[in-house]
Structure formats: C-alpha cells, structure tokens
C-alpha cells in the first residue's frame, strides 16, 4: 500500500516538473517575441523622427545633400526588413547614417543653437538609447531561451513546446569593432 503511494507521489512530482519545464520554454519563447516587437516599436519611433530632422537640418545647411540622402535612403530600406538579420542590418545602416548627419551638424552653429534642433537632439538621443536597450533586452531573452533549450531538463521538451533556438540581434557597427587608437 505504502509502495503504491510512494510511486504515485514520484510520478506526480515528475509530471509537475515536466509541465513546469515545458511552460518555461513556452514563456521564454514568448518573451523573445515580445522583446523583438519592442525593438520594432523603438525603430519605428526613430524612423518617424527622421523626416522632421532632415527638414530642420535642410533649413540651415546648403551643401550636405548627400548626407541627408543617405539618411533618407537608409530609412526607406529599413521599412521592408522582416527577419531578425535583415532588421538588424537595416538598423545598423540607419544608425550609421544618423551618426554621419549629426557629425555634419557640428559645422553649423546656427543649427545647433536652434530650439527646434535642441528638442530634436534630446528626442534622438533618448530614442537611440531605447533602441540599444531594446536590442540588449532582446539578446538577453534569446540568451535565456537558447540556454534553456540546450540544458537539462528543459531540453527534453523542446519538440513538445515547439520552440527552437533564436538568432541574436547583431548590429554591424564599424565603430564598435574599431580598435581604439592610442595617441601620444
């Protein structure tokens, strides 16, 4: 009698563990989806800022047409991306084009002093921060999911939970890779 109760208890505990590991995988997978949509929300915010920025800069500068065009072109390309790799690549080129534009504005004191541009600058820097925090949050979530997929006991339920390892969001940023130059 006691043996039956014991076996039953063990079975119940094992079943509970199984349900919990499987649910954990499902939960982590949803967290990755949510984190990715957060990146898209922030990229959209940044994209919406660009026309206003371009108009403001245009008003103060005369021969920066190519820099402005690069920003507009990068923005246009970003709207068609859907996969993680494509979104990340498009995100990288917009980031780079914006950086080029902001570097150019350094040469126009009138522009930098204008109230409109100052407001835009705070908006741009907070959006840029949000974009990079959203990427980081996504990658942390992918890291947890991929770890759970590879480790026991959750690794046993990968098929039943219908989850798979997800790609990291990697932005190709030449500035990050550049080795710091030492000057004496």
């Amino acid at each position: 009698m006691n043996a039956i109760v014991l076996v039953l208890l063990v079975v119940i505990v094992l079943a509970l563990l199984a349900v919990m590991s499987r649910n954990r995988l499902v939960r982590l997978n949803i967290a990755v989806d949510e984190a990715f949509s957060q990146i898209e929300v922030q990229l959209k915010r940044r994209s919406d800022l660009i026309p206003n920025l371009v108009e403001t800069v245009k008003g103060y500068t005369s021969h920066e047409a190519s820099t402005l065009e690069a920003v507009v072109a990068a923005r246009a390309k970003a709207t068609s991306a859907t996969t993680v790799a494509d979104v990340a690549a498009a995100d990288g080129s917009v980031t780079q084009a914006l950086r080029g534009l902001l570097a150019v504005t350094e040469n126009y004191p009138d522009l930098k002093a204008s109230a409109n541009f100052l407001a835009l600058q705070e908006e741009l820097s907070t959006t840029e921060n949000k974009v990079s925090f959203a990427r980081q949050f996504y990658n942390d979530n992918v890291r947890s999911l991929n770890q759970a997929i590879k480790t026991f006991p959750s690794s046993l339920f990968v098929n039943s939970a219908k989850v798979a390892a997800r790609p990291f969001y990697e932005v190709d940023d030449p500035q990050d890779r550049k080795a710091p130059t030492v000057k004496f």
Binding site: K130, F133, A134, Q136, F137
Partner: protein, 306 residues
C-alpha cells in the same frame, strides 16, 4: 580576464546577492522557530495559540503599508507626480531604463528638497512610483541620473517592497510575541505553565535568553537584508544600463554631498538611494545601506570588465 575579475560579472553578483538575502530571510524563519520553541518550553503547548495572533497583528500593520506603499510614501515624502511635459529629459531617461528592464513605465514624482536623493516603491511593477529630489536633478548629468533611475527601477524589478514587507512582518511579529511573553513571565501567571515541575532548568534559561535576544537579532537581520537588496539593486542597475560608470559617478556625487533629505518620518528612510539616517558614525551593522565607498568600489571593479 583573471578569475578574480570574473567575480565582478553582474550575473554572478546578482546570484550571490539573491542567495544571501534568501539565506537572511531563512535566518529570520529560524528565529521564529526558536521563539516558538522557547514559548513551548516555558508555557507548554497551549502557549502556541498566541503565535498566530502575533503574526496576525504584524501582518495587519505591515500589509496596508505594503499594499498602498505608492500612495503612502508619496504623502509621507511630499512627492508630487509629474507628466512628460514637466520634465521631458527625466521622463525620457526613466522610460529608457524601462525598455532595458522590460518593465512598464512607473509613475514619476519630484520631491522639493535640495539634498540629492531618489527612491522607488510600489507593491508591483504596475503600481511602481519613482521619485527624484529637485537637488539630484540639479547636481547630476544625464548619464548619472540614468544610473540612479536604473538603481531605483531595479528595486521595482527585484520586488524589494515585498521583500522588506516580509522582513518587517517577521520582525514585527517577533517583537510583539517576545514583548507579550516577557510581560507574562514578569508579571504573571505561573499558573499558566502546564508542566513546570517536569522542566529542565537549562531549557528554561535558554528559552528566556532566546526571548530576550530574538527581537534584536531580527532587527539586525532585517537591516542586513536591506543592505543586500541595495547591493543587488546596484548590480541589477548595471545589468540594465551596462554602464557601471554612470551609477558609480552618481554615488560619488552623493558621497561628496553633505546635505541630507529633510525627512518627515524615519519609517521611510530605507527606501532612498542614499540613506538619510546612516552616516559614517553609524556602525555598518546598524545601517540600511552598504557604505557608499563599498558600493563605489564594487562598481569600479565592474567597470574594469567592460
């Protein structure tokens, strides 16, 4: 990277602080166990009936302040809620940290006070409120404020209002219980003891010692838990911003500053980023926060990693 520097990886530090605060909470459980044992030794089994009463009273007194912590603390500190228009930059940097933490945007408030300080409270992330003094907004730059916001949002993410409510309830129940028992022992009724003649005198003395020391031990444990949660919030802030330098510089600003928030009540002292009560003369054992110098040193070690 040496083994020593890997100790300052934020994931390791987080796990360490979580484990330690868990152990401390467990320690409080052991004290409760010891007091119940003392009670049974001294008064016999019937005495156990007052344990649920003491826990009930403690729960009643702590639960309300936990549940409505956002509203109560706002009133006690005189903080005033602001919207996006009133301080765009502050609003922006708090929402940045929320994106990094995956948390909903809390209510943001400002306390009119020249001393630089900040706090966060609320029973869950949906009812969180984060407040900054006018002083901190004046003396800190954007990056430092972001570090402060990340520290405060870490308290929200780590559910520190709940942790401190549990610690306060346990310490409160122990205080009520031991106070009650000591009164009965001193004034009272020997007739309440069921088995006086069978008692082992050593056990009786031990139970009195337990009853005398338990409230003090519970208070020290409660402070130790508060210090561990502060250390954990510093580390979690680095997880959010990946920028230990911002928070480190913010703490250095606080270290140099000598003004102290004009507190209306000491009961909310523990929620500020820099304690308004602790000072260099206070022994570490009795502080709600780890010393600023220690917090700065940990963050510096984390900077060395990136």
């Amino acid at each position: 990277m040496t083994t020593d520097s890997r100790k300052f990886d934020f994931r390791k530090l987080q796990a360490g602080n979580r484990r330690k605060s868990g152990e401390l909470l467990f320690g409080m459980g052991i004290i409760v166990g010891a007091v119940v044992w003392a009670l049974m030794t001294y008064f016999g089994k019937s005495g156990v009936a007052i344990v649920p009463v003491a826990i009930g009273i403690a729960l009643l007194s702590v639960w309300g302040s936990y549940w409505a912590s956002d509203k109560i603390v706002l009133t006690m500190t005189g903080a005033r809620l602001i919207d996006e228009q009133q301080n765009k930059q502050l609003y922006d940097l708090v929402s940045e940290v929320c994106v990094a933490a995956g948390l909903p945007l809390p209510k943001i408030a400002i306390v009119e006070d020249n001393a630089p300080n900040a706090f966060a409270t609320g029973r869950d992330p949906e009812h969180a409120v984060i407040a900054f003094t006018t002083g901190i907004l004046r003396v800190m730059d954007r990056e430092e404020l972001q570090g402060v916001a990340a520290h405060e949002m870490s308290h929200v993410a780590n559910r520190d209002t709940l942790v401190s409510a549990i610690a306060a309830t346990t310490a409160g129940a122990l205080a009520i219980l031991t106070d009650f028992l000591m009164r009965i022992m001193i004034f009272g009724g020997g007739d309440r003891r069921d088995n006086r003649d069978n008692q082992n005198p050593i056990a009786l003395i031990a139970s009195i010692v337990v009853l005398i020391l338990a409230p003090l031990a519970a208070m020290l444990l409660r402070l130790a838990i508060s210090r561990k949660r502060e250390a954990l919030a510093d580390v979690t802030a680095v997880q959010f911003t990946r920028n230990p330098a911002g928070l480190r510089r913010a703490l250095e600003v606080l270290q140099q500053d000598t003004t102290v928030v004009k507190q209306r009540s000491t009961s909310v002292a523990h929620i500020w980023i820099e304690s308004p009560l602790d000072n260099s003369a206070t022994s570490k054992l009795f502080s709600t926060h780890p010393p600023l110098s220690e917090r700065i040193a940990t963050l510096k070690a984390m900077e060395g990693l990136s």
